[in-house]
């Protein structure tokens, strides 16, 4: 048996395990859940677009879309039809292949993430034992699509927006991952299903208030929600990376943008708010309710806050969120070492105190330089 054979059989052994253990061990499972995932994402996108448009409008003392359907609920569908009928314009200097590919690259990952999100105990497409890792990995892919779009449009606004997005996502990946790591430590598993099950006693938001804040802020930055929406920055870059896109390709970006918002809300809801857990209502409804609560908070911040500057954005990630995330991870690890097994509930006030102290300390120490560069 040569070394090649050994390697081959080793690889085959891994291949055996490739379809991971389906929950329920039914072969049709993937088919059903593929449909469910896609449908769930698309429906949720329509819902959150409605929530966003009406929410922003209500915050801004307006009424928002209210003409299509009762209370304007069909506005997203009307927009979709309109956008489908629009002409697809490709700039003459565009890098055609990349230009065409970018919208798909942005949109596809948002659906893929839902493969590991549990809608109920075990009701998920694949209970990956590395679920959290999968989420982090896949959610970063759309950045590549954004950069492809910005680069290929041969538009300076697009390129600036795309560069900003790459910089922001790479920086904010750190605090996001570190704050998720705290949850993983608490749950003792990377599987999202196990993490949700571990929150049966209390949701992790009370065990990890700092982690929740960090994930929320970092998540907002990663999916380019205000106040970190620098890649679109409508008052500066007109529309950022998708300035040149029109028709269905623009719609894909639009869907992708809200898809990412749904994904981030889902991750936050799953990791910190107890996912599908909850009394009375059916589990999937609890999940949706929690997603909408998180999303509404995002709408609220978007309606309220001005936009930060790019250097402040980076400084905020590296000088404020990153150290806090590290300390948060350390504190969590120490707590788990100190109380093996289930953590006692009296550490909840302790955690809140630590959070407050850390935020105060971080705020005192945090400082960014002046934005001016000598030229």
């Amino acid at each position: 048996m040569t070394a090649v054979d050994a390697a081959f059989s080793g690889a085959m052994r891994h291949l055996d395990a490739v379809p991971p253990d389906w929950p329920g061990n039914e072969w049709w499972h993937w088919l059903v859940f593929t449909v469910i995932c896609i449908a769930f994402v698309l429906v949720m996108i329509i819902v959150v677009i409605y929530v966003e448009r009406r929410g922003i409008a209500f915050f801004a003392a307006r009424v928002g879309p209210n003409r299509t359907g009762p209370f304007g609920v069909l506005q997203a569908i009307a927009d979709a039809i309109k956008v489908l009928l629009k002409e697809n314009i490709t700039p003459s200097n565009a890098d055609k292949l990349v230009y065409w590919l970018a919208p798909a690259v942005v949109f596809a990952p948002t659906i893929m993430i839902f493969a590991v999100v549990p809608f109920q105990n075990g009701a998920m497409m694949a209970d990956l034992n590395i679920g959290v890792l999968f989420v982090i990995a896949i959610s970063s892919i759309s950045t590549i699509g954004v950069f492809m779009a910005g680069w290929s449009s041969s538009n300076k606004y697009s390129l600036l927006g795309a560069m900003r997005n790459v910089a922001a996502v790479v920086s904010y990946e750190m605090p996001v991952v570190l704050s998720i790591a705290g949850v993983v430590l608490l749950a003792g598993s990377l599987s999202l299903n196990d993490i949700v099950l571990a929150q049966e006693r209390v949701p992790f938001i009370v065990m990890q208030p700092l982690g929740f804040l960090l994930l929320f802020i970092g998540g907002c930055a990663e999916i380019n929600r205000s106040p970190f929406d620098l890649m679109e920055a409508d008052s500066e870059l007109t529309a950022g990376f998708h300035t040149e896109y029109s028709g269905m390709k623009f719609a894909m970006f639009y869907l992708g943008e809200y898809g990412e918002a749904v994904v981030m809300s889902t991750i936050i809801a799953t990791l910190f708010l107890g996912g599908w857990q909850g009394p009375v209502l059916p589990p999937w409804l609890w999940l949706i309710v929690k997603i909408l609560i998180v999303f509404f908070t995002m709408v609220w911040t978007r309606a309220t806050l001005p936009r930060v500057r790019i250097d402040q954005l980076m400084a905020f990630a590296w000088k404020f969120l990153f150290p806090l995330a590290l300390i948060n991870l350390l504190v969590t690890a120490l707590e788990i070492l100190a109380w093996p097994g289930d953590l006692p509930l009296y550490i909840i006030p302790l955690n809140f105190a630590i959070t407050a102290a850390l935020i105060l300390l971080g705020s005192k120490l945090f400082k960014v330089g002046w934005g001016r560069v000598e030229v």
């Binding site: 922003i56 915050f59 801004a60 003392a61 307006r62 300076k156 606004y157 600036l160 560069m163 900003r164 205000s226 106040p227 929406d229 620098l230 920055a233 409508d234 008052s235 500066e236 007109t238 978007r302 309606a303 309220t304 806050l305 001005p306 936009r307 930060v308 500057r309 790019i310 250097d311 402040q312 960014v368 002046w370 934005g371 001016r372 560069v373 000598e374 030229v375």
Partner: protein, 367 residues
């Protein structure tokens, strides 16, 4: 490995969400940093100075509406003051009060627009903008009641104002003053102390006091730089010497100071309004001036403190029914003189904020 980089040129405008109209800035950028800036004017040039030479003195007033179209009243006032100075016309007492009331209402309305769009430039997604517009609507209602339009008022006349206010005006104004004062306080809570806004505007776009004077800046831009200069105090026109008010000034002349000066000016305007409402006498609102007025040969310059700064008209008369020359001192244009100096070295995002803090109106810049 060293990467070869080169600066690139970005055209901001003339059609861009944050250029307050059709302004174009040709920015040379190194990544995000602005290396050079070349403002390009003229996309809204309508030749108002030339048009004014072919109209009667009264017919120029609608043209002045279209200069700074968010503050038509003060433009009207500046023009009619000039012609009155030229022709030596005195204005009835009640008309003077009405002019003050209208100018101060206009100042509040224009500052609300300026501040709202400044927040919008900072990236607060339309919410503060619409709040400000909501309060401005109250003032537009009053203007609508008085002169029948909400934007281009054409209210001032040579020798007074076009017509007296209706009976329901004063009660409405008395209700609106406290309302707006409360709302200004509320919106101060909204963004005055907001950390992100402070980070974006404090220390950004500093216009030093000496430079501000040297470039001929006026209005909130000059006062934001710490110069206590307000035409209403320095060279009181109309009846401004009868009212008690303060001149708010900034400290270092950054974007935040300019924004704060605007807010404080609104409060002072409300003070003036309260005094004017209490003092206004009854009587005529228009002096007996012929429709086709022929001022004597000569020239006159009169200026008012408009929301954007010192609006001045330099009218030369040759004794005919039309001005021989009507030059407009446009504060927005002058305030932009130092734009390049203030922006170089800052990021492109700051460019939008600094530009927004001037609150220019293109109708006035290009005329």
């Amino acid at each position: 490995m060293e990467l070869r980089t080169e600066p690139f040129v970005l055209n901001i405008g003339p059609v861009h969400p944050s250029t307050h109209g059709v302004f174009r800035m040709r920015a040379t950028l190194d990544g995000e940093v602005v290396l050079d800036l070349d403002p390009v004017f003229g996309y809204l040039h309508r030749g108002i100075e030339k048009l004014a030479e072919e109209r009667t003195y009264g017919g120029v007033i609608p043209l002045t509406d279209r200069l700074d179209y968010v503050a038509s009243m003060t433009n009207n006032l500046a023009y009619v003051l000039t012609v009155e100075k030229l022709a030596g016309i005195s204005v009835p007492e009640r008309a003077e009060y009405l002019r003050v009331i209208m100018s101060e209402l206009q100042r509040i309305a224009a500052h609300l627009v300026s501040v709202g769009s400044f927040f919008n430039d900072c990236g607060a997604y339309f919410t503060p903008f619409l709040y400000m517009y909501r309060e401005r609507e109250n003032i537009c209602d009053l203007f609508d009641m008085v002169c029948g339009q909400r934007l281009l008022y054409n209210y001032m006349r040579i020798g007074g104002v076009s017509q007296d206010i209706p009976d329901e005006f004063m009660p409405a104004l008395k209700r609106i003053i406290p309302h707006i004062r409360g709302r200004i306080d509320e919106y101060d809570q909204y963004l005055k102390e907001n950390e992100i806004l402070l980070a974006r505007t404090k220390g950004v776009g500093i216009l030093p006091r000496d430079l501000a004077i040297n470039i001929g800046a006026s209005g909130p831009v000059l006062r934001g730089s710490g110069m206590k200069w307000d035409i209403r105090k320095a060279d009181p026109y109309s009846i401004y010497d009868r009212f008690e008010f303060d001149i708010p000034t900034g400290i270092q002349g950054d974007c935040y100071d300019r924004y704060r000066v605007r807010i404080e000016e609104m409060r002072q305007s409300l003070r003036i309004l309260e005094q004017a409402v209490a003092q206004i006498p009854a009587g005529e609102v228009r002096a007996d001036v012929p429709h086709l007025i022929r001022p004597p040969v000569g020239e006159a310059y009169a200026h008012v403190e408009a929301p954007t700064g010192e609006v001045g008209f330099h009218v030369v008369s040759d004794g005919s029914i039309a001005p021989y020359r009507c030059h407009i001192r446009a504060p927005s244009l002058m305030n932009l003189t130092a734009l390049r100096d203030m922006i170089i070295g800052w990021k492109i995002q700051d460019l939008i904020v600094i530009f927004g803090s001037f609150a220019i109106t293109m109708g006035e810049v290009d005329r």
